[in-house]
């Protein structure tokens, strides 16, 4: 298949200027349309890995190759949804998304098309009603929806989610997870998501990448979640494949590579 290894992370190592080695020998290939979660204890370097794929951090060794091109700088084809939404507080919800749309499609879409595309993406995350509000006027979950809309509007080749629901309460989080699943089913994005929530990883992912503890962290194991889509959180809960995947992740995190007790 030609689209094999759409995104390929090859022998990536990152050592910071201070001499501390964060990642060593990370190898991962991701197919087009695949949903991958990266899970691990705090401080294991999973955010570093995501930043490397985003191009926000340079690699020390190895390379990241997306659609046959080496990644060496950040760009809209690898849109990031940051953990703390990072919407610009002086712009309205609409303008935050429009900023991205204007930048990415300045030459390829007309003004009216860009307006429509902005509204389309806000509708995709069900935020049309708040388009004229400032970020400070909407809830945390809504901010993450807008952050997601901004990322989706760039039509990225790979969507990078950096613990996107980490700061939200459980109900809001479940709502957003469902939205992400729906959007993934509709658009078929390739997604790389950082999380430390086992259930979230199992519910959303095709494969779960489990990272060993730092320093010099790497990929410890990969679990394939063999569940058909669309998945419903209620039905999936008792399926053997779900239970097995969940058990494998918990076993890895708490038995084979336990984090610091004090950090738990």
């Amino acid at each position: 298949m030609a689209s094999r290894a759409y995104l390929s992370i090859e022998n990536v190592g990152v050592t910071f200027g201070s001499g501390s080695e964060v990642l060593r020998g990370v190898d991962l290939t991701v197919d087009r349309g695949e949903f991958i979660s990266i899970i691990g204890h705090s401080g294991c370097g999973k955010s570093t890995l995501l930043n490397v794929v985003a191009g926000l951090l340079p690699v020390t060794t190895g390379a990241v190759i997306l659609d046959k091109q080496a990644v060496d700088a950040p760009g809209p084809e690898r849109a990031v949804v940051f953990q703390n939404h990072s919407l610009l507080p002086w712009l309205s919800v609409y303008d935050n998304v429009r900023l991205a749309v204007d930048k990415v499609f300045r030459r390829t879409k007309s003004r009216a098309e860009r307006h429509a595309w902005t509204l389309h993406n806000l509708a995709l995350v069900q935020m049309t009603h708040a388009k004229d509000k400032k970020p400070a006027e909407i809830s945390g979950g809504m901010k993450q929806r807008v952050g997601l809309a901004r990322a989706l509007a760039m039509e990225p080749k790979v969507l990078l989610l950096d613990e996107p629901f980490g700061a939200l309460d459980a109900l809001t989080r479940a709502n957003l997870q469902d939205s992400v699943m729906e959007i993934h089913a509709k658009l078929g994005n390739t997604v790389l998501m950082i999380t430390h929530d086992v259930d979230e990883a199992v519910l959303l992912s095709d494969r779960i990448v489990m990272m060993t503890n730092g320093p010099a962290a790497g990929i410890g194991d990969v679990v394939t979640v063999d569940l058909p889509r669309p998945r419903s959180r209620i039905e999936v809960d008792t399926k053997p494949a779900y239970v097995a995947a969940r058990h494998a992740v918990i076993e890895f995190l708490y038995s084979r590579h336990p984090g610091f007790r004090s950090a738990a």
Partner: protein, 295 residues
């Protein structure tokens, strides 16, 4: 303050029949006006009372010794014309205080505007480039401690004329807080916003307009507010030495004529104008940075 709450509770429910309302009540508009008046009184009354107390003490202390500082009543007796008519103009420097203040304000407007433009530009440079920071910051830190009046002989020597020298003194006094606060604002832009700019591949100009400037605006206005206060300090001081029309020279002139009462009146003007300038810049800042508060 408990009175309005009580009358609100006693007010009839909207569905109640009309005949059980025995007393005429103040209409809502009048009640709201009363609330506004009360709020205003709560803010205006304390400073007025303080002022009255100060004037009283001043009167008591100074009335013993007529050769020293004039008492408030003596000031009113000696300088009534100056207080009541700020707009007279008998040519030369014999003008009402309004004209003196206006001349000083014009100088501040020019000098401060220059300082704002150059200061923000330098602050952005120092805040965004590590090399510029290393090269310029130590020099700024030394220069900013030079008192405004110390610049005057140098600027007179360099520029030869009084008017541009006064402007330069304002400029050089006001610029440091603007530079330093702008630089801090630029350096404190959250990494998240910087990353958004990088992911979107904003050009330097786009980054400047859409992220850097709005993110640093609250800091910039803090600098501008300190700067405008300092430039008003500097203008009064430099006019004392330079002469001509202006509040600073007026004070010096009256001192030489031993008219201490007039000086006190001028000081009140200086204070009020400085206060107004500060509030004006603060208001501008609030308007410009509306919604830019971190969320």
């Amino acid at each position: 303050m408990s009175l309005p709450a009580l009358s609100d509770e006693a007010a009839p429910r909207s569905g109640a029949p009309a005949q059980i309302v025995p007393l005429p009540r103040p209409p809502a508009v009048r009640r709201r006006a009363a609330a506004v008046a009360r709020a205003a009184a709560a803010h205006v009354l304390p400073p007025l009372l303080t002022l009255a107390a100060v004037l009283l003490v001043w009167q008591v202390v100074t009335s013993q010794n007529p050769a020293g500082l004039p008492s408030p009543t003596a000031i009113w007796r000696d300088s009534r014309e100056l207080i009541l008519d700020p707009f007279f103009d008998r040519g030369g420097v014999d003008k009402g205080l309004f004209w003196h203040a206006l001349t000083s304000l014009r100088r501040v407007a020019v000098g401060f505007s220059l300082a704002a433009v150059v200061g923000v530009a330098l602050g952005v440079l120092v805040g965004s480039s590590k090399m510029a920071h290393r090269g310029l910051d130590p020099i700024f830190q030394v220069l900013r401690t030079v008192p405004p009046l110390a610049w005057l002989p140098i600027s007179l020597a360099a520029l030869h004329e009084a008017q541009p020298s006064a402007l330069f003194v304002i400029f050089i006094t006001a610029i440091w807080p603007i530079v330093i606060n702008t630089a801090v604002g630029v350096r404190n832009i959250p990494q998240d916003y910087v990353n958004v700019g990088r992911v979107l591949r904003l050009s330097p100009l786009e980054y400047f307009v859409t992220i850097l400037l709005p993110a640093a605006t609250p800091y910039i206005f803090t600098g501008l507010r300190i700067g405008v206060g300092m430039s008003w300090l500097a203008i009064v001081a430099s006019e004392m030495l330079l002469g001509g029309v202006g509040v600073g020279f007026f004070i010096w002139d009256q001192y030489n004529a031993s008219r201490i009462s007039d000086i006190v009146v001028a000081l009140v003007w200086v204070g009020l104008v400085g206060f107004a300038l500060d509030r004006l810049v603060a208001l501008l800042g609030r308007i410009v940075s509306r919604g830019a508060a971190a969320s």
